[in-house]
């Protein structure tokens, strides 16, 4: 058992499962948005679509899914390439800085989305 305190769910299985569930949610969301765009949509229709509570909740769900999905994916990339094994001690500093950076960017995107939806 390898301990990892910065992974999303602290468990390989929960991260793996969450990444697949969030991927399905994102596909559903982007199909929904894609269908609206392909059908031709005016600004007024677009605005009214996002004023509906259901669409707002669906969008929030999609963004939260994106946040979890992105963290799990970026965490995997960081723990593959930014490691003490490859870079010496610098790898640990870079990886932690990278993880904090990713966390901040994801946080900003989530807050920004909430502001756009309900602001």
């Amino acid at each position: 058992m390898v301990r990892a305190v910065t992974s999303f769910g602290r468990s390989g299985l929960s991260d793996w499962l969450l990444q697949r569930v969030t991927a399905v949610i994102l596909v559903a969301y982007f199909l929904c948005i894609g269908a609206s765009l392909l059908g031709g949509v005016s600004y007024a229709e677009w605005k009214s679509m996002f004023e509906g509570t259901a669409m707002r909740i669906f969008t929030l769900l999609a963004v939260l899914s994106l946040a979890a999905h992105a963290w799990i994916g970026m965490w995997s990339v960081g723990t593959d390439y930014l490691t003490e094994r490859l870079m010496g001690k610098t790898g640990n500093v870079l990886r932690l800085a990278y993880q904090i950076g990713c966390g901040l960017v994801i946080f900003v995107y989530v807050i920004w989305t909430i502001q756009i939806l309900w602001g």
Partner: protein, 234 residues
């Protein structure tokens, strides 16, 4: 004449690895790569590589031949040589001891982690622990691994995390004991695998399946482990 390029490195005398070219007269025969290495050894006795049974059983001569891992003793020139050139390198991702000989310690450490032996704490029967033919059949495709390391050293996840990702060879053996009806340590075995590295660094790219000289399928075994974890934890 076959053009053969061989990776040379002696950490005690060389500052960096280099490639050395050899010309080998195969007499037009479709030899095995190990035969070619033996001919090169006759030309230059300092070339180092491992070999033993020369029939694909011992797993000693795992090498990277023209970019693909395999056993030199059962890889025919016709299967690997392109444009009359053969490039032989050590298995990727492991420290080089000398020339084509790699240090397998990291590989064995991962194998050791999965406790590759039968665990059963129930009282032993008088003669043996019986197994039905159906249960025995579940071990086919798992027990045949010869630990040549061709699979694990072709896996990028193992290259980056050889100390934390068990790798396809170790996981194939992990499932071999998880699938064994006589083993009673299933829960303990699974508990040790539920972290983000041991199993879940496998992204299913199937390099391991592509190179296994015994035709085994570690990716499928890893999928079974994942399903066992999933069915117990949800």
């Amino acid at each position: 004449m076959l053009q053969v390029s061989i990776y040379r490195y002696n950490p005690e005398t060389d500052s960096a690895p280099s490639m050395q070219d050899f010309q080998v007269d195969t007499g037009g025969k479709d030899l095995m790569v190990l035969d070619v290495l033996e001919m090169i050894k006759a030309q230059d006795t300092t070339v180092a590589y491992r070999r033993s049974c020369r029939e694909g059983v011992c797993g000693s001569d795992g090498l990277n031949m023209n970019g693909k891992n395999g056993l030199a003793c059962i890889t025919a020139l016709s299967d690997t040589v392109r444009d009359n050139k053969l490039v032989i390198r050590p298995l990727p991702g492991l420290p080089v001891v000398r020339d084509l000989v790699v240090d397998m310690s990291l590989f064995y450490r991962q194998y050791e982690k999965v406790q590759p032996f039968l665990q059963n704490n129930t009282p032993a029967p008088a003669i043996e622990r019986l197994q039905s033919p159906e249960d025995r059949a579940k071990l086919d495709g798992l027990y045949e691994c010869i630990l040549c390391a061709c699979c694990s050293t072709s896996c990028p996840s193992f290259w980056w995390n050889p100390d934390r990702f068990i790798g396809p060879a170790g996981l194939l053996q992990a499932y071999r004991f998880l699938a064994d009806s006589r083993d009673t340590a299933t829960d303990e075995r699974l508990a040790k695998l539920d972290d983000p590295f041991s199993v879940f660094r496998c992204h299913g790219i199937q390099n391991c399946v592509n190179v296994c000289p015994k035709g085994l399928n570690p990716t499928r075994a890893i999928g079974h482990i994942r399903n066992m974890l999933l069915s117990r934890a949800t």
